[in-house]
Amino acid sequence: MFRKVLIANRGEIALRVISACKEMGIRTVAVYSEADRNSLHVKFADEAICIGPPRSAESYLNVPAVISAAEIADVDAIHPGYGLLSENANFAEVCRASNIKFIGPPPEVTRMMGEKSTARQTMKKAKVPILPGSDGVIESEGEALEWARSVGYPVILKAVAGGGGRGMRICRNAEELPALFNQASTEAANAFGNGDLYMEKFIERPRHIEFQVLADEHGNVMSLGERECSIQRRHQKLIEEAPSLMVTPKLREELGKTIKKSLENIGYWNAGTIEFLMDEDGKIYFIEMNTRIQVEHCVTEMVTGIDLVKAQLRIAAGEKLSAIVPEPVVIRGHAIECRINAEHPETFTPSAGKITAFNVPGGNGVRVDTAQYAEGVVPPYYDSMIAKLICHGKDREEAMNKMQRALSQFVVQGIHTTIPMHQKIFADEEFRLGKFDTKFMERFFERQKNSKG
């Protein structure tokens, strides 16, 4: 097992990894920007090194600074967390060249699965159902029209190099396609330096369903079941749950087997998540893979009982999956996670500043992952998520009731948070009935507006 690990991240995930390491007797090294000097991940790590000024580009994303810190602290491995450098294949390569174990897949695999059209091709070859679309980059408007004809409208144009909604255009008929194609390409070129586009069938009301996987470095892969993350605002997840109301045991098992084969083929290592969209008829299509641990890994931990971060460390240290995960994986009960952001609950304006009161709910089946505390500061430079509230119950009904109770006891003062928004969602009929898709929040806001005026 590793003697010492550097955590190349901040906030709650840095603390999560540090905690797992402590439980395993691994020494921890935190890195931090000047803005995070008083952060919990700094306070609770065994060693801490300041690597730069507040801006991420000059600190957390600064590869030479992170590697230099790893070298002077003489660490065995680096855990990249999520976001930041976690899916940066170059960073993984530098780690390898510096003889530091990167806790994640090999750089070649990260690169392959990070590139959306290559990932689609790889999954298609492995017989994973993929969303019908272009086989690669679309070179011209003419090609776009051809593809749209074969795939069937509506279609969506997406940037090969992008994400977060940019370089994306939905097209519902042939007349609007040429103009939208050019708009998307220009936007992508401006945002990512690469205007290449691919096309996919567009599902009007999809549900977002993703599968958690673990793979050891000996060729063994396992699926740990799914999560549903349909409650999103502007492509950012707000609430996640496991299991999904829409996934039958049969689908879970079949898809699990297909996913397992596909990842064995490409030589995947460590934790990962395969994202799918489910259409109105219950058919499921691969959209992309995230080659890292995710924010919402907690809901899978609650229903399977498996510590995913410890699994990552053990896999990277060379252990076999059979020693880490029981077979078969049993899903017990239902877990839901609310992401608590430092934002105004109605306008979503970011709310940085000093927290004056911070009461965290507890109790049976209630988990809070956070790196904030009373008198703590939320800096303006980073992601606005300050806590994750996860509730586990014997079924969805119990999990929702616990969540309502826990939300009512989660007191944060000094800054705005999205706690009141979550309280409203958990009181919403459609949400409680499990009737949602990725357009849920739009309809929810409409309902809220109408009930007011």
Binding site: V29, Y32, E34, R37, V42, A45, D46, E47, A48, I49, C50, I51, G52, P53, S59, P64, A65, I67, S68, A69, E71, I72, A73, S98
Partner: protein, 163 residues
């Protein structure tokens, strides 16, 4: 039980003492108290750099910046800096070296006048030797960092009395 960092510093201290033929050596920590007795005449190849020794002594209690102590420990340990002094801080994480290569003369000595842009030291990061330049003109009053020791971003390296 001494932790790894303190043990390394102690080793460096012992090497220093041997190299300078110090026969007896005491030390207390808080508020510092040193007693040294030399074995004989100082070696012809060079006298003891007492300034370096005092900096070494001053650094030992704080241990390396990578230690568990609050991050500002490394700068807090040194004797309080006068108001008028400007601290040159490290712009990168790495290992501090006062001279261009082992055994060579330091880039600057205490008392030297330096100009803006003049190289004061090297901070090595990922096998690259980065020359660190002074951001003020003035007299070098104190070398705060210890040669061969790690430094973090923003850590004070030198104190300069600006002109």
């Amino acid at each position: 039980m001494m932790d790894g960092n303190k043990l390394n510093e102690l080793r460096e201290l012992v090497e220093f003492l041997k190299a300078n033929e110090i026969a007896e050596f005491d030390m207390e920590q808080a508020d510092l108290k040193v007693r040294i007795k030399f074995a004989g005449e100082p070696a012809a190849t060079g006298g003891i750099d007492l300034a370096h020794l005092s900096r070494l002594m001053a650094s030992v209690p704080a241990s390396a910046p990578a230690a568990a102590a609050p991050p500002v420990a490394a700068s807090a340990l040194a004797a309080p800096i006068e108001e008028a002094l400007h601290e040159v801080k490290s712009p990168i994480v790495g290992t501090f070296y006062e001279s261009p290569s082992p055994g060579a003369q330091s880039f600057v000595k205490i008392g030297d006048q330096v100009e803006v842009g003049q190289v004061l030291c090297i901070v090595e990061a990922m096998k690259l030797m980065n020359e660190i330049e002074s951001d003020v003109a003035g007299e070098v009053v104190k070398r705060i960092a210890v040669s061969g020791q790690p430094v973090e971003y923003g850590q004070p390296l030198f104190a300069i009395r600006a002109r």
